[in-house]
Amino acid sequence: MNKKITILYVDDEDINLFLFERSLSSTYKVLTAKSGEEGLRILGESSDEIVMVITDMRMPGMDGLLFIRKAKEKFHNISYYVLTAFNFNEEINTAIEDKLINNFFTKPFDIETIKAEIGRVASKLNLIG
C-alpha cells in the first residue's frame, strides 16, 4: 500500500526474519539483517529510505542495544525500536528513559501494534496523507 516506507528488521533467527518480512511486506518495504554488523552495513547503503529500525535484543556478537547506539551516532533521524522475548526489564526501561529507543514490542509480536506504531512514525515524517 505504501511501499515508500522502508523498515529495517534485525534478528539472529532466520525464522523470525522470515515471519516478520512475510507479515509486513504486503504493506511496507522490509529490509532484514542477521546481525548488528549487517544492519549497520545496510543502513550505510540505504539510510535515505529507512525510517524505522526494529531489532532483537539478545544476539550473538553485537547485541540489539549496542547496535542501536552505533547506528544512532550516524543515522539519528531514524526511529529505533526493540522487539524482544523479554517482557520487560531494567535494560529496556533505561533505554527508553535515555531516549535510545522510542519504544519496545514484545514477542510473540502483535502485527496490529507494530503497524500502528509505523503509522505514527510515518505520519510524523509526512510520508502518509
Binding site: N16, F20, F88
Partner: protein, 818 residues
C-alpha cells in the same frame, strides 16, 4: 622451768608465762624472770599484740644486759627483729637481727646462732629475696646439723623448701617439704607451715582449689592456736585464691577478715598486700573507683616500707585501671614503669604479668605486632616457670593478636594450644575467651556454622562458670562458715577446760610457794578474786564472740545480695548473647529466602524469554497463514479461520501467563512505575489458578474504573500473591475468596476475604512478625506476610486484618492513590 611452762598453745601460754614471771620474781630468779619475760613476749607476738611484745622483749634485753647473759640478749634482739618485721618496719628489723648476730658472736652458742640465722632467712623470704634467705638458712642448717637434734633440722628443711619455692624450683622445694612431712607430727606448728607452703606451690602452678585445700587445713590449725600473723597471712592468701577463680564475693570476705586482724595488730606488709589484692578484686569486678582507692592505700603502705616490688605491682594495677578507662597513654606509662621496676628486682612471675599487660594494651591500641613482641617474651618466661595457667592465657592473647592481624593460620594454632592447656588445668575463664576468639576466627574464614558451634560452647561455658560461681561458692562459703563456727565453739569449750586446769595448777603453785595457812588463805582469796575476774572476762569474751557471729551472718547476707546482683547481671548478659544468636539465625534464614526469591526471578525471566521466542514463531506463522488463505474460497477460508483462532487463543493465553510470571519476579527498586491494581490481582490469580481450580470460587468485585497507582509493580505482585496464596491455604476444602476494590477520596481500598479456618487472637497479633507461621515446619518460612507488610508500608499503604476462627480472615489494604 621456763622451758616447761612455755607451751605452743597461745591461750595456755598466756597464763603459764604470766605465772612463770611471777614465780621467778618470788624466788628471785632474775635470769628466769628475764627468759619468762621474753617468752611472754613471744606469746604476745603470736597473739598480735606487737606493742606489748616489744615492751617485754626490751625488758628481757635489759635484764640480759644486766646479767651479761649473751643468749638472752641475742634471743631478745632477734625477737625484736621479728616484731619490726611483722610491723613492716624492715630497716629496724634488719638492724636488730644484725645486733643479735653481733651479740651471739661474742660467745658463740650454736643453737642461738642458728635461731638468729633462721629468723634472718625468714625475713628475707618475706621480702621475696630467696637468694639472700638461702645463704642464711644454709648457715643455720650447718649449725643445727652439728647440734644433732633432728627436731631442729625439720624447721630448716621447711625454710629451704620455701627458698626454692620462691625461686620457682618447685621440684627441689617439694623434696624438702616431703622430708618435713615425714619428720613432723600432724598436730605441730611445723606441719601447719608445711600445709601453708604446699598451698603456695599449688597456687604458683595455678591449682587454686588445691591451694585452698591446703590453706583451709592450715587456717584451722592457726585458728586453734590463735597465731594472729599466720591467720592474717592465710586469710590474705585464701582471698587471693578465691579472686583468681573469680569468686569475688568470697575474696572480699577473706581479704577484709585478714585486714581486720592485720590493721588491729599493725602488720604493715600484710595490710599493704590486702589492699593490693582488694584493688585487683575491685578491678576485676569492674569497680574502678574502689580499685583506685585501694591501690592508693597499698601504695602508701608499700612506700613507707620501701617495698619496690609492691610498688611496681601497684603501677601495674594502675595501668590496668587506666586501660579500662580508655586512657591508653597513661596506661602505657604505668605498665612500662612497672615492667622496668620488676625487671630490676628480678621477679620473673611479676615481669611476665607486666609483659602480658603490655601485650594486651598494644592489642587495644591496634598495634598488634608490638603486642606480639611482648607476648612472645612473656610466654617464654611462663614456659620456664612452668605456669600452665599463664601459658594458656598467653596463647589465648597471642591467638587474639594474630586474629586481629588477619594471620589466620597462626591465630588458630595458638588458640588451639590455649584450649589444650586450659582444659586440663580447668582454666575455665581462659577457655571461654579462647572459644569466643575461635568463633571469631571461624567467622572470618567463612565458616559461620562452625563459628556458631563455638559461640554455643562459649555461652555454655559462661553458663557453667556462672552456675559454678553461684552454687559452688555459696556452698563452700557456707561450709567454711559452719566449720569456723564449730571451731569457735570448741575454742570456748577449751577455755572452760583451761580454767579448771589453771585452778588446779594455781592451787599447786600456791601450795608450794606458801608455807603457812595464812598464805594459803591469802592465796585462796587472790585466786578467787582472779577466778571471778577471769570468769567475767570469759563472759565478756563469749558476748564478744556471739556479736562476731552476728556480724558475720550479717556479712553473709550482704555477700548473698552481691551474689544475686552478679547473678542477675550474668543472666542479662546471657540473654543478650542468646538474642544475638537468634538474630544471626534469623538473618541467615532471611538471606536464604531472599536468595531463593532472586534466583526464582532470574529463572522465570529466562524461561519466559525462551518460551516467548517459539511463541513468536507460532504467532507469526499463524499470521502469515491468515494472509495465505485469502486466496481460498470463502467456505474454506471460514473453516481454516476457526483453527487459526484456536491457535491464536492458545498463544495469547501462554503469553499472558509468561507476562504475569515475569511481573512477579521482577527485581527493581523503582517506586515510579504505573501499577494497574486489577491487572496485578488478575496476574496473581492466574499464577494461582492451578491450586484454585475446582475448589475455590473467586468472587471479583472490582471498581468500574481502572485503578492505576505509582509504585513498584513487581513488589506489589509479590505482596498480593502472598495474601492470596495465604487465603488459598487457609481454606481446607471448598470455599470462596472475595476480592473487592474501590477508590474513594484518592484512597484505594482492596479487600481480600476468605472463608478459611481463621486465626486466633494471639496469632492475629503475631501475624506481621517475621518467621511467624501456623504451618508445619518445612512448609512455610513465616516470611511471606512480614514481607507483604513491608511492601505495603513502602507504598505508603496500611494493612489491617480481622479474623474469626472457623469463619475466615479479611485483609483490608489501603493505599494513597498518588
Amino acid at each position: 622451768m621456763s622451758y616447761i611452762l612455755f607451751g605452743f598453745d597461745v591461750e595456755q601460754a598466756d597464763s603459764t608465762t604470766r605465772q612463770a614471771i611471777r614465780v621467778a620474781q618470788k624466788i628471785n630468779d632474775q635470769s628466769g624472770e628475764g627468759w619468762a619475760t621474753a617468752y611472754r613476749g613471744v606469746y604476745l607476738l603470736f597473739s598480735g599484740s606487737l606493742q606489748s611484745a616489744q615492751e617485754n622483749f626490751t625488758r628481757a634485753l635489759e635484764r640480759g644486759r644486766d646479767l651479761d647473759e649473751n643468749n638472752l640478749q641475742a634471743y631478745s634482739l632477734n625477737q625484736l627483729g621479728n616484731v619490726f618485721r611483722d610491723k613492716g618496719v624492715f630497716d629496724s628489723a634488719i638492724y636488730f637481727y644484725r645486733q643479735a648476730e653481733a651479740v651471739i658472736s661474742k660467745k658463740p652458742d650454736p643453737y642461738y646462732q642458728s635461731v638468729v640465722k633462721m629468723n634472718k632467712g625468714r625475713y628475707y623470704l618475706i621480702l621475696s629475696k630467696p637468694d639472700s634467705a638461702l645463704l642464711e638458712i644454709n648457715e643455720a642448717r650447718k649449725l643445727r646439723e652439728d647440734l644433732n637434734e633432728p627436731d631442729l633440722t625439720v624447721d630448716v628443711w621447711l625454710a629451704l623448701g620455701n627458698c626454692f619455692r620462691q625461686k620457682y624450683e618447685f621440684k627441689e622445694a617439694e623434696q624438702y617439704y616431703k622430708r618435713v612431712l615425714k619428720n613432723s607430727s600432724r598436730e605441730s606448728t611445723i606441719h601447719a607451715q608445711y600445709l601453708l607452703n604446699m598451698g603456695e606451690v599449688s597456687f604458683s602452678r595455678g591449682d587454686f582449689p588445691g591451694a585452698l585445700n591446703y590453706w583451709r587445713q592450715a587456717l584451722a590449725y592457726h585458728r586453734k592456736l590463735n597465731y594472729k600473723y599466720e591467720l592474717a597471712f592465710i586469710l590474705l592468701r585464701m582471698g587471693e585464691a578465691f579472686e583468681e577463680q573469680g569468686y569475688y564475693d568470697l575474696a572480699i570476705e577473706y581479704l577484709t577478715n585478714s585486714l581486720k586482724i592485720s590493721e588491729k595488730a599493725r602488720y604493715g606488709l600484710i595490710s599493704a598486700d590486702v589492699y593490693y589484692e582488694l584493688a585487683w578484686v575491685f578491678y576485676r569486678n569492674k569497680n574502678l573507683e574502689l580499685a583506685t582507692q585501694s591501690i592508693h592505700k597499698a601504695r602508701e603502705l608499700y612506700k613507707n616500707m620501701k617495698q619496690d616490688l609492691g610498688l611496681a605491682g601497684c603501677l601495674n594495677v594502675e595501668g590496668l585501671v587506666q586501660l579500662k578507662k580508655g586512657n591508653y597513654d597513661s596506661a602505657l606509662f604505668y605498665h612500662q614503669q612497672s615492667l622496668k621496676d620488676r625487671e630490676r628486682i628480678g621477679d620473673m612471675a611479676a615481669v611476665s604479668s607486666s609483659l602480658y599487660n603490655l601485650g594486651e594494651l598494644y592489642n587495644a591500641r591496634k598495634e598488634y605486632k608490638k603486642a606480639l613482641l611482648f607476648l612472645g617474651r612473656g610466654v617464654k618466661l611462663d614456659e620456664t616457670i612452668g605456669d600452665d595457667y599463664g601459658k594458656s592465657l598467653y596463647y589465648y592473647q597471642i591467638g587474639k593478636s594474630y586474629n586481629l592481624l588477619g594471620m589466620m593460620d597462626s591465630a588458630i594454632f595458638y588458640l588451639d594450644k590455649s584450649v589444650r592447656i586450659a582444659i586440663p588445668t580447668s582454666a575455665t575463664d581462659v577457655l571461654r575467651n579462647s572459644y569466643f576468639e575461635i568463633a571469631t576466627y571461624l567467622q572470618k574464614v567463612g565458616k559461620p556454622n562452625e563459628a556458631i558451634n563455638y559461640y554455643k560452647k562459649f555461652i555454655q561455658l559462661t553458663d557453667t562458670l556462672f552456675n559454678k560461681q553461684t552454687s559452688e561458692s555459696l556452698a563452700s562459703y557456707r561450709t567454711l562458715y559452719e566449720v569456723e563456727k564449730k571451731e569457735r565453739e570448741i575454742e570456748l569449750l577449751n577455755k572452760d577446760n583451761l580454767l579448771i586446769k589453771t585452778q588446779v595448777q594455781k592451787q599447786r603453785i600456791l601450795f608450794y610457794v606458801a608455807g603457812t595457812g595464812l598464805l594459803i588463805l591469802i592465796g585462796m582469796a587472790i585466786f578467787y578474786y582472779r577466778f571471778a575476774k577471769r570468769l567475767k572476762k570469759l563472759n565478756f569474751q563469749i558476748l564478744e564472740k556471739s556479736q562476731e557471729v552476728q556480724t558475720q551472718s550479717e556479712e553473709l547476707t550482704g555477700a548473698n545480695e552481691v551474689l544475686s546482683d552478679l547473678n542477675q547481671e550474668l543472666e542479662k548478659s546471657n540473654k543478650n548473647l542468646k538474642d544475638a544468636l537468634d538474630d544471626v539465625r534469623k538473618t541467615q534464614e532471611k538471606l536464604i529466602q531472599s536468595e531463593k526469591m532472586a534466583s526464582l526471578g532470574v529463572l522465570s525471566a529466562g524461561v519466559a524469554h525462551e518460551l516467548n521466542n517459539p511463541l513468536n514463531f507460532i504467532k507469526g506463522g499463524v499470521n502469515a497463514l491468515g494472509i495465505q488463505i485469502q486466496d481460498l474460497n470463502e467456505d474454506k477460508q471460514r473453516e481454516v479461520k476457526v483453527y487459526i483462532d484456536i491457535i491464536n487463543e492458545g498463544v495469547n493465553r501462554a503469553s499472558v501467563i509468561l507476562k504475569g510470571l515475569s511481573h512477579y519476579s521482577r527485581q527493581t527498586d523503582r517506586q515510579n512505575e504505573p501499577c494497574d491494581i486489577h491487572k496485578i490481582l488478575d496476574n496473581c490469580l492466574l499464577i494461582l489458578s492451578n491450586t484454585l481450580k475446582h475448589r475455590i470460587v473467586i468472587e471479583k468485585d472490582y471498581s468500574r474504573s481502572v485503578i492505576v497507582m505509582t509504585g513498584n509493580e513487581g513488589r506489589l505482585h509479590q505482596a498480593f500473591l502472598n495474601i492470596l496464596s495465604n487465603a488459598e491455604q487457609a481454606i481446607p476444602g471448598m470455599g470462596t475468596i472475595h476480592i473487592k476494590t474501590n477508590v474513594m477520596n484518592d484512597i484505594v481500598s482492596i479487600s481480600i476475604a476468605d472463608t478459611g479456618s481463621g486465626l486466633s487472637k494471639e496469632n492475629l497479633l503475631k501475624i506481621s512478625d517475621p518467621f511467624f507461621t501456623t504451618k508445619p515446619p518445612g512448609e512455610g518460612t513465616g516470611l511471606g506476610l512480614s514481607i507483604t507488610y513491608k511492601i505495603i508500608e513502602t507504598h505508603g499503604g496500611k494493612i489491617s486484618v480481622s479474623s474469626e476462627p472457623g469463619k475466615g480472615t479479611d485483609f483490608l489494604i489501603l493505599f494513597p492513590l498518588s
